[in-house]
């Protein structure tokens, strides 16, 4: 009796992982080339940018917020990085500038939400629109071409067969997981999301914490913008449309609750891989993009459904 109950709880907790493994098995059966090392490398490359954004988003959602602007920030910082990455400066310059620009957008979001008391949806909707406009303005509406060969090499190179993009992702995962799980700051982030009033009353500076989570999301969006430009070799002002939706999907599917206070890093990793594998697998099978959207939408709804059901069971 206890045994089946224990297995049931295990499965419900790790349900998303089970789904992921099942999907990989099904895809491999349908198309054996899916599991080829070449394609696995593709999956890692394709998951990296979404993964980095998802981890930034994770901080924001766990603290009880919501950030719609990361896609626009990726485009804006990507254009900046492309303009500075033509070979006139060492690569560290576009990287730092992109991350600082992202950080600035994040701080604006954070101040609006935590100090101005604006609902995160409205604040980040505003920055999403304005920052996209900034991207178009500084690029004059055209993609920025002519980035240096070294800059292109960042996204194209690999170490021992593992693409550089994936290495960036792994480093970010490691840092974020450590911060969330093992530091006082991390615990405070969870506290803010779990119950903001209680957190404030217990002496946590919730304003600072909330601003910092948006700042982290912006910072990581800046890093993503830098990497994105390297990968596609141009700074596109129209890039990253709806990337915020993918980042939120990765978090939600990975067990981060939209009401805040709940979420594990490994879940976000699985969520991100799940989305990437769906897109990659459906592309390999030659499925039309229309069907892909339907499948993606269904998965989001199912994942949140399971999340809600799991919560109500616990009570």
């Amino acid at each position: 009796m206890k045994e089946t109950k224990r297995t049931k709880t295990l499965i419900s907790e790790y349900f998303i992982f089970v789904i992921f493994i099942a999907l990989v098995i099904v895809l491999t059966c349908l198309k054996p080339s899916f599991i080829q090392p070449g394609n696995l490398v593709n999956i890692l490359k394709q998951a990296s940018i979404n993964g980095i954004l998802a981890f930034g988003m994770m901080f924001v959602i766990i603290a009880g917020g919501f950030d719609m602007s990361v896609g626009s920030t990726v485009a804006f910082t990507g254009v900046l990085a492309a303009m500075l990455g033509q070979g006139q400066y060492p690569l560290i310059v576009p990287l730092i500038v992109a991350m600082l620009a992202g950080l600035a957008v994040g701080v604006v979001n954070g101040v609006g939400v935590a100090v101005g008391d604006l609902p995160p949806f409205i604040m980040t909707l505003g920055t999403m629109t304005a920052v996209r406009g900034l991207a178009l303005l500084i690029s004059n509406g055209k993609p920025i071409i002519g980035i240096s060969a070294e800059y292109k090499a960042i996204a194209a190179s690999s170490i021992f067969g593992i693409p550089m993009l994936a290495i960036f992702l792994v480093i970010i995962i490691a840092i974020c997981s450590f911060v969330l799980a093992k530091t006082v700051y991390g615990r405070r982030v969870y506290a803010c999301g779990g119950n903001l009033l209680a957190a404030r009353v217990s002496g946590i500076n919730t304003t600072k914490i909330r601003i910092s989570t948006f700042a982290i999301a912006g910072l990581l969006a800046g890093l993503s913008g830098f990497l994105m430009t390297s990968r596609v070799t141009i700074g596109q002002p129209n890039a990253a449309e709806s990337y915020e939706m993918d980042a939120i999907t990765a978090c939600v599917v990975g067990g981060v609750s939209m009401s805040g206070g709940v979420g594990k890093p490994w879940g976000v990793v699985v969520g991100c891989l799940l989305i990437t594998v769906i897109a990659n697998g459906l592309d390999i099978m030659g499925v039309s993009s229309h069907w892909q959207r339907i499948v993606k939408g269904a998965i989001i709804v199912l994942a949140v459904l399971l999340d809600i059901k799991g919560k109500s069971k616990k009570h």
């Binding site: 070449g38 394609n39 593709n42 490359k45 993609p143 990968r231 596609v232 030659g286």
Partner: protein, 326 residues
């Protein structure tokens, strides 16, 4: 109370900024001369007032349109106002109505939707404004009071592209197609061109159904990466240069796979030069806009047009002639 005051001041500053931006835009689009009356290239002593309403201004093709229009307006001494409808039909209709009210003598526009904008065009024409479609035309434009059209031909562009690919393939091979957003008129027309040519080549096979990559480079790159691990492709035909660049990134320079695009934008040229893509079909939006403005001025000064269908040719550009087009 303090917060409210601060917010109110912030809002006032933002609104002032918006007004200033609006004012500076107006003065930017008026070429030589500050007051309209000081331009005397038209017989009645004032510069013609012409409005250009673009579908959007967010890619290199459209920017080429903007720049060519401004240059031609400066050359002919007309006062040109340029607006962007941001891909929204309702916005474009309002903009046309506004331009009529403000006394613009000619309106050039690229319809966001060929049917949805027809009535607005007719109303403007009935009010005595010279209406010209550029880049693409409204449905049944001849009977909607539209005086002329100055466009390329997306169907022909598609045909030129696919024919080049078919020739390079020697008439047989595995291909895949990347399309723009599914309901996009320009994209659908290019696909029509592809299909017209493919009908003659039964040995050219599409091994996957066309993928909608929404004109986006990153999406195209991810899709083609996935394809290349599962399929043997001899050619990838893309409905625009942005996606062709993505496909070229995925395949790598000089991969042996024929990759083609449409539009002839700087990112496409860069990719042709370093061997990532094979070629593109230039649409020369700038020429379409410039011809449209010339036609408007001819009509406004009482002349007649030799033909009111001004077609700009499309050209295949590859490594052999890319230098001429940059």
């Amino acid at each position: 109370m303090k917060k409210k005051k601060f917010l109110a001041m912030l809002l006032a500053c933002v609104m002032t900024l918006a007004v200033l931006t609006g004012c500076s835009n107006k003065s930017e689009t008026t070429p030589a001369g500050n007051a309209p009356a000081s331009n005397d290239t038209s017989s009645d002593g004032g510069a013609y007032k012409i409005a250009l309403i673009q579908q959007h201004q967010t890619n290199a093709f459209q920017i080429a349109v903007t720049e060519a229009a401004e240059a031609k307006a400066a050359e002919l001494g007309v006062e040109l106002k340029i607006l962007s409808a941001d891909q929204d039909a309702a916005t474009q209709i309002s903009q046309i109505e506004q331009c009529v009210t403000e006394g613009y003598q000619a309106i050039l526009f690229e319809p966001v939707d060929p049917d949805g904008l027809r009535d607005a065009a007719k109303n403007a024409a009935d009010a005595g404004v010279v209406v010209i479609n550029i880049i693409s035309a409204c449905t049944d434009w001849e009977n909607a009071g539209i005086s002329a059209v100055s466009y390329g031909n997306n169907v022909k562009a598609g045909e030129t592209e696919m024919q080049q690919v078919a020739d390079l393939l020697g008439g047989k091979g595995n291909i895949a197609i990347l399309t723009g957003p599914s309901a996009d008129a320009g994209g659908l027309q290019r696909m029509e061109g592809y299909e017209n040519i493919l009908a003659n080549y039964p040995d050219i096979v599409q091994v996957v159904s066309p993928a909608d990559c929404a004109w986006d480079t990153a999406q195209a790159q991810a899709t083609v990466e996935s394809w290349l691990s599962a399929y043997d492709l001899d050619a990838i035909v893309c409905e625009n240069d942005g996606m062709a660049v993505g496909a070229g990134n995925a395949a790598g320079a000089n991969s042996g796979i024929i990759i083609s695009g449409v539009d002839g934008t700087p990112d496409g040229f860069e990719a042709i030069k370093d061997g990532r893509i094979t070629g593109t079909v230039s649409q020369n939006g700038g020429a379409m806009a410039a011809n449209g403005i010339e036609a408007a001025v001819t009509l406004l000064s009482g002349g007649t047009l030799e033909t009111n269908v001004l077609v700009t040719d499309n050209t295949w550009i590859d490594a052999s002639n890319v230098g001429d087009y940059e």
